[in-house]
Structures are given as C-alpha cells and as structure tokens.
Amino acid sequence: MVATMTQQTTATPEHIEYVLRLADNALILGQRLSEWCGHAPVIEEDLALANISLDLVGQARLLLTHAGNLEGKGRDEDQMAFLRVERDYRNVTMMEVPNEDFGRTTLRNFFSSAFQVLLWEKLVKSSDSELAAIAAKSLKEARYHLNHSSEWVIRLGDGTEVSHAKTQAALDYLWPYTAELFAANPTDEAIAASGVGPAWSSLEAAWEGVVLPVLGEATLVVPARTPFKSYGKFGRHSEHMGHLLATMQYMQRTYPGAQW
C-alpha cells in the first residue's frame, strides 16, 4: 500500500479516463458473460463463454490496476472494480444491456471483439508501456473471441428460421448502441495527440470493414443509423447498469475488504 501511495504519477485525467474505458468495457462485458455459466445451450458453448468471460475479467484486472496506479490515490483493482459508484464506470452502454438470448450475446461479443482487435492492434504501440504490454496479451485473446463469435454469427443468421429471426432482432436492438463506440469526444482527441492510443472514432471504417461482410454472409440486414445516442462512456448508463452492479458489488459491499 505504501509503495502505491508514494508512486509518482504524471498521468493526465484524459489518460486515466481512457484506460478506465478499456477496463470497464472488459469488466462489464465479462460480468454479463459470466451469467451464462451453467446456462449456455450446450456444454461446449458454456465453457467457451466462461473462457471469454474470464479472459475479459483478466484484462480488466490488469487495466484497473494500471488505472489505479495512474490515478495515484492508492486504489487497487478490487476497489476500482467493486467500490465505485455507477457514474464512475466508463464502459459503453452496449456492454451492460442484458444478454437476452444466445443471439444477442453472440452478436455483442462479435461487435465488441471486432472493435477490441482493432484497438489492441494500435495500443501495442502505445507510448504508455504498461498499456502496450496489456495490449499485446489481450490482442491474442480478442482475436480468438472475434473468430469464435463471427463463426457463430454466420451460423445463427444463416441458420434456421428461428435463429435468423432472433439474430436479426438482436442486430436491430444492438446496432444503435454501436454508434457510441465511435462518437468523437475531447478525451479521445487529447489521447490521440499524446500518443497513448487512437481516437476510437478513427477505427469506425476499419470496424465496419470487419463487421459488415460477416453480417452480409449471415444474411442479416443492417439497420440505418438513427439519431439515438448512448453515453455510457461518460458515466451516464442505462437502467440495466444498477442491477448489474448490485450483483457484481454485493460481496465486496457486504463483507468490505473480503479476499478469496
């Protein structure tokens, strides 16, 4: 604890904010995916979803620890994960919406991992060496998540009548939330200028280049963009976030400082 308290930090608020967005995207999606444990359609997929969930929680641990160090207030990964209030979480809203069914869960994993692969590829060259190291580890995991989810999206979309209908409904539901990933904002501009990482908006064309061909192969129809906006990465979350946090934070709030 003393070492952490005395650690010198030169991180800007934008830098901390940027790392928190990465951390919370991984943490909240990891939490959502963990809900499938014991409930997936088949045992093979149960293991796959739990694996992906644990990969994401592992990334979140590294990122939250790093954010805590950058912040320099002595908060460790557990305090960052479990003891913040809703408005302090910086994940995009898409990560917190309910799983609903296997179609929506799979499609969200697809959107999210396609984005993360592009982002980690850039962050491998970050001027923040700790972040670059986390990116190198996470990139391999994200590539597998993308591989796995895109295979599934194709089979669900181009599958039976029921699987197609459910996946199309998932696409109609999730598509508006994907806009938030690429919405320009001052934090991203400052970060892009500093060399820490790319502005997320700069990844939109590449993301569509990955996502649209797979959706096409899956015979899914991409909805038109609408004026709908979500603001999770600014801390303004949907009504689902409080319930998710209640479940996730319960243990640490009931038994403060508990370790296992």
Partner: protein, 95 residues
Amino acid sequence: MERKEWPLWEIFIRSRNGLDHKHCGSVHAPDARMALQVARDVYTRRMEGVSIWAVRASDIVASDPDAKAELFDPAEDKIYRHPTFYQLPEEVNHM
C-alpha cells in the same frame, strides 16, 4: 419426432511438437470448423496442446468388440514376435 442433434466429433490433441496426436474425448458441433473451436475451449484450456484434429465420429471405422477373441487373442502365445525373444550377441545387446 426427428431429433436435431449436432454430430459427434472425436478430438485428438498433440501436446508438444514432435509427439503424436492422442485421442482425448469428443464434442458435439454443427460442422468441422466449429468442432475445432469447441475442442479448443473444452480440451486446451490448461495448455494441453499445440495442435487439434477433429474427426467425425461416424467416419471412424472400428473393430467389433465381439470379435475381440478372434482378432487379438491369437497373438498371446506368439512370443517370438517380440524383439526381446531373440538373444542378441553381447556386442549389440544394449542397442
């Protein structure tokens, strides 16, 4: 009613370069590519392997368990088929 179940795939994992693939179990998957995916998740979570083979279980031709006696028992008393049966000259005995 027709039962729509995914086919069964037998999974073989090679643990290290240079070793052979060993049968480790089976998975259900809709097709070959997904069989590799789920095999990766089910059987290589603890660094067990560097290569996976998946074979449709229905494509494996197996010997009949009831024919065990005629297939395998006759080998029992053919000790001369083992290299250890032969006395080698002292000079090459530890080859």
